[in-house]
């Protein structure tokens, strides 16, 4: 990856995080996970690694956001790339539009709705099976949360995907080490995620979910093994990019005041925490 390319992606990821913070006002959004997966989203849609573009393309790769609460990062990425008018992001939660807390198919670029965890790996397996039956070369990427791995349906679908040798199916786990209210390892320990997937017949690799170079290096080897689905465990930081939101159990869902927003935008620009300021508008759900 050239320096220019990296800078282009970084600039895009910065703007995505700006949009996410703005969507965390006036009712709020799931800000922590949206910030942790922003770089993954930008890499997937904008690096050219996947066949994705705003023009409808029947041969496009399929991206499914199984942890639907990250939708601000998805919508911000899609809007920045021209899938729909960027001004629509300011319609977040308004009755005049359909931009709410989980994705739906009326928004261009969204392949399927989600919100209930543990659903889209099976749906993705169905799409991947269709591609195999049609001899299509397209790939199916399913973005999941680490907390989502608590759901039994994930493992059921993993077994079936492996049995059907769906090597066109790729799971990307946003490993930000938090589920809703707690660190994952405190509540339901998940490690080793790599070995879990491997024992289910997948091939798994861990990478840095905030490094475009590392992501590129990992994605370049897909599928990791012929006849086996691939799992990418992308190590990330909840709240990434905004120091006073990083690694905070109580910054899963947040609704910030305008004053807090300007402070957080400043943190995003400078990388310096205003940790002495209490965030009053935050809500833990």
């Amino acid at each position: 990856m050239t320096g220019d390319e990296r800078n282009r992606l970084k600039a895009l990821a910065f703007r995505v995080r700006e949009h996410v913070l703005r969507m965390a006002t006036g009712g709020g959004c799931f800000v922590g996970a949206s910030l942790s997966c922003a770089d993954i989203m930008v890499f997937l849609y904008a690096s050219g690694i996947a066949r994705l573009s705003p023009d409808s393309d029947s041969e496009r790769d399929i991206v499914l956001l199984s942890k639907g609460h990250d939708v601000p990062a998805l919508y911000a990425t899609l809007a920045e790339l021209g899938y729909f008018d960027i001004r629509r992001l300011s319609n977040h939660l308004k009755t005049s539009d359909a931009i709410y807390w989980h994705p739906n198919r009326s928004i261009p670029g969204v392949e399927f709705h989600s919100g209930s965890l543990g659903h889209l790996l099976a749906v993705g397996a169905g799409i991947a099976l269709d591609c195999k039956l049609s001899r299509s070369a397209k790939r199916v990427y399913v973005i999941m949360g680490d907390g989502e791995l608590n759901e039994g349906s994930v493992w059921e679908a993993s077994l079936v995907a492996s049995a059907h040798k769906l090597d066109n199916l790729i799971v990307i786990i946003d490993r930000n080490e938090f589920q809703a209210n707690l660190p994952t390892e405190q509540l339901i320990p998940l490690e080793s995620i790599e070995r879990k997937f491997e024992s289910f017949g997948w091939t798994a690799e861990t990478t840095n979910g905030h490094s475009f170079e590392d992501l590129e290096e990992t994605f370049r080897h897909l599928p990791f093994r012929e006849d086996s689905p691939s799992a990418i465990i992308a190590q990330t930081v909840r709240g990434k990019g905004v120091p006073s939101l990083e690694r905070r159990a109580d910054r899963w869902f947040a609704n910030f005041s305008e004053a807090e927003l300007s402070m957080l935008l400043d943190e995003l620009k400078t990388g310096i925490s205003h940790s002495d300021i209490q965030l009053e508008g935050s809500v833990v759900r």
């Binding site: 790996l121 099976a122 749906v123 397996a125 099976l129 591609c131 349906s153 679908a157």
Partner: protein, 316 residues
């Protein structure tokens, strides 16, 4: 090959979008499987994944027909049906094996006697309960033409089925299988034949009984039900389902909607007699013994209906 498998085979050959799926419930399609290589997918004992994958295939334009035991299809994967299929209205056909009394001696774990209620609750999902294999086989092409999701109560060829000789005319339109003018029996599925024979027994006692095959529970033909409620002294519902959620509930909902209209014409709304499983599971034993124990043989049904009818006559 059963009539159902014959029908499926023809459809697989004429419609390249069809994919036959199962969660390792191979019994209803065992002869078909070897004949459709590349068009058959077994996901193992994984009903949630069955529904999720079917949604993914349907999203790509395929037409999955999925099979699993009714109890697990409708309950283990209920949220997947509601969320993946119901919200999107994807045209997945869900075929439930051994529904209602057909689970024989398996016990309450396998008794799908709330399946119709559950499926009816999901927006966009339709419900079809054929009374025999022929009706099922005949209905399939029409069901697929709707391009909507369906839940079907599968009926095997063994055991007693529809012996009325009258079969489906049209999806959504109840069939009068036996004409009469005093009592109207509404039934569906495996019990239709018993209801019909109960009607014959009652007629020997001088009571005129109409029998209707309400094979399509959703969408329901409300006008037809309203007509029954307005023109008969008693409407009896015979179903292997809890009292809540099935045809008895549908009739009660219809009464709530239309009673004023019926009364305004000077008629009385028919007395409603639900012959259901009430609020409990049934005795796990062989099918014919289930019918005996639970009072759903033709003789038992006739006696129960006669008792109610006498009661209604004395009340009237």
């Amino acid at each position: 090959m059963t009539p159902y498998e014959d029908s499926l085979l023809r459809l697989v050959h004429t419609d390249e979008r069809l994919v036959i799926m199962t969660a390792e419930n191979r019994a209803p399609i065992k002869e078909l499987i070897p004949l459709i290589p590349g068009r058959f997918v077994d996901v193992g004992i994984a009903e949630q994944t069955l529904i999720g994958m079917a949604a993914g295939l349907a999203l790509r334009g395929r037409r999955p027909i999925v099979h699993a035991l009714s109890a697990f299809l409708t309950m283990r994967s209920f949220e997947f049906i509601r969320t993946d299929i119901g919200i999107s209205g994807l045209p997945v056909v869900m075929v439930g094996y051994v529904p209602g009394f057909l689970s024989d001696a398996n016990g309450p774990t396998h008794q799908a006697i709330e399946d119709i209620g559950l499926m009816r609750l999901v927006p966009s999902v339709n419900v079809f309960c054929p009374s025999d294999q022929q009706e099922l086989a005949e209905a399939l092409p029409e069901i697929l033409l709707t391009e909507e999701p369906w839940y079907i109560r599968y009926l095997n060829t063994n055991g007693t089925t529809n012996e009325t000789g009258v079969h489906l005319l049209k999806i959504g339109k109840p069939n009068v299988v036996h004409r009469g003018f005093e009592i109207c029996i509404l039934s569906y599925g495996v019990l239709l034949g018993y209801a019909s024979r109960a009607a014959s027994l009652l007629e020997r006692s001088g009571i005129s009984v109409q029998v209707v095959n309400v094979h399509t529970l959703k969408p329901i033909d409300t006008d037809f039900l309203e007509d029954c409620l307005a023109h008969f002294a008693m409407v009896v519902i015979v179903e292997d389902h809890f009292r809540l959620g099935g045809l008895s509930s549908i009739v009660a909902e219809t009464v709530a909607q239309c009673h004023r209209r019926i009364e305004s014409t000077g008629s009385r709304v028919a007395a409603i007699v639900p012959l259901t499983l009430g609020d409990r599971w049934f005795k796990p034993t062989l099918f014919k013994d289930v019918l005996q124990w639970e009072g759903f043989t033709a003789e038992a049904l006739a006696a129960r209906i006669m008792k109610q009818f006498k009661h209604e006559v004395s009340y009237a």
